[in-house]
Amino acid sequence: MRSVAKIKDRFKIPGLKSLKVNSNWVFHFDGSGCDGCNAEYIACLSPGWDIERLGFRNTGNPSYADVLLVTGLLDEEAKRGLIEVYEQTRPDCKVVAAGVCACTGGLFDGSKGILSGADSVIPVDLYVAGCAVRPESIIDALMEITGNDTNKGTPEGEETA
């Protein structure tokens, strides 16, 4: 079947790569957190904030993702999971550490078995502080890391950044 796959692969649509589309796929990884930042990310998908209108889409497969969002504390067990997820992501995928526990270990930094932040496991592109991180911060971070205009979606006459 490998040869069949290779033949079909040569059929490429010309000009596909140069099309600019606004569609970003987010994979959410939660370590063994307190579920605060978890709930705030899920609130981003709820009618209150609704990141789907901005083009973001939640996915269950890390290899589709444009953004890997890490929340929650990381201990040894979560570290294994995070490495497994990170190895499946593409090289272009950006990593966002949301919440103070994923950035630096937060309040629990220094305890045995707690890793001080996601950047002790994988390289992180953007840190978002907060305990629990606010949905507007998560949305701002996602817009910035994917190159979108951070004023999109705000009401007329208001500017955020």
Partner: protein
């Protein structure tokens, strides 16, 4: 499971480890972060235990403020559970309705205290600052809107035929079984057992607010969901009464420099009863802390339920309140 897993420190509780390096005032902030959405309740429990061990009586106004914030926190957590249950039923529109109402409650909390879930308002000896009366008035108006929507949600859960078909008769827990077991919270109240730590009046202003727990007969998932939504409505009424009857006065008492003594504090969280035990022998660093969350106590009942299938198990665990905060973290 090989032995080396236990030798590494994977399974130790991070909250307990912090008690070696942080004194009792800082530990309250750590107790909040054990479980994010139920954070304020845990800080109330920790503070109640500390005040009990130090034999300090906190002012009445502080009790009222703690009650208001506690009820708001419980409302948002109950709505979160209902949203998760509706999502498991494939009922996306009810789930989104619950999320929207929860957002309004979180905005009220944001206006009153500055943060959405982890408030850090409760300190040993009272509360950190008082609530602005103007903002409180506006919040009550917003609360009225939420209460109307909560009545709508209650109507949907009680009367929608498909919801009833999926929830009725699922995971039935008889009243005798619930009374003789460690189940608390909606698991017990849905079976007709009227236990609630708020009745005892050990914390908060509940003895002045005529608190009566919400119970349902039936013992199945439908009864437990009805308990949850009725508790949301009950919380709204309790908040209104507390705002009307709030006394004047100071909001904080003096706490001693070191804690000498031991105390157990049990408070009511949306999933059940959380237990905090502390013990100190004179210094600011506590000797022993023990925590048991509601999820741990409720978990043991799963073996005694019948007819738990792959499709039902998620619903039963959610309504009994097992899957949240399982371990002391």
């Amino acid at each position: 499971m090989n032995k080396s897993m236990f030798e590494t420190t994977e399974y130790t509780s991070r909250f307990l480890q912090l008690s070696e390096v942080k004194d009792y005032r800082q530990l309250v902030y750590a107790a909040e972060r054990m479980y994010g959405t139920g954070g304020f309740g845990n800080s109330v429990a920790m503070c109640t235990a500390l005040e009990g061990a130090a034999e300090v009586v906190i002012p009445e106004k502080a009790q009222y403020i703690r009650t208001i914030l506690m009820e708001l926190s419980m409302m948002q957590e109950n709505l979160l559970r209902l949203a998760a249950i509706a999502e498991t039923l494939n009922f996306d529109s009810l789930s989104m309705m619950c999320w929207t109402e929860r957002e309004k409650i979180l905005e009220i909390l944001d206006d009153l205290t500055g943060n959405r879930m982890i408030l850090s308002m409760c300190v040993p000896g009272g509360v950190r600052k008082s609530l602005d009366p103007e903002i409180l008035e506006e919040s009550l108006d917003e609360l009225n809107v939420v209460m109307q929507k909560a009545e709508t949600i209650k109507g949907i859960i009680a009367e929608d035929s498909m919801v009833k078909r999926r929830l009725r008769g699922v995971g039935v827990l008889a009243k005798e079984a619930a009374q003789g077991s460690s189940v608390t919270g909606p698991g017990a109240k849905g079976s007709g057992v009227d236990i609630d730590r708020r009745m005892l009046g050990e914390y908060g202003a509940y003895r002045n607010l005529d608190f009566v727990p919400v119970t349902e007969t039936g013992g199945d998932c439908l009864a437990r969901c009805m308990v949850k939504i009725r508790e949301v409505i009950q919380s709204g009424e309790l908040i209104r009464k507390a705002v009307e009857n709030m006394p004047e006065g100071s909001i904080r008492s003096e706490m001693p420099a070191g804690i000498n003594g031991e105390w157990i504090a049990k408070i009511e969280q949306p999933d059940g009863v959380d237990t905090f035990y502390i013990s100190g022998s004179g210094s600011a660093f506590l000797d022993e802390i023990g925590v048991r969350t509601a999820g741990e106590s409720n978990q043991k009942i799963m073996d005694r339920l019948e007819n738990v299938t792959l499709e039902n198990e998620a619903l039963i665990r959610l309504t009994l309140g097992i899957d949240s905060c399982l371990k002391e973290r």
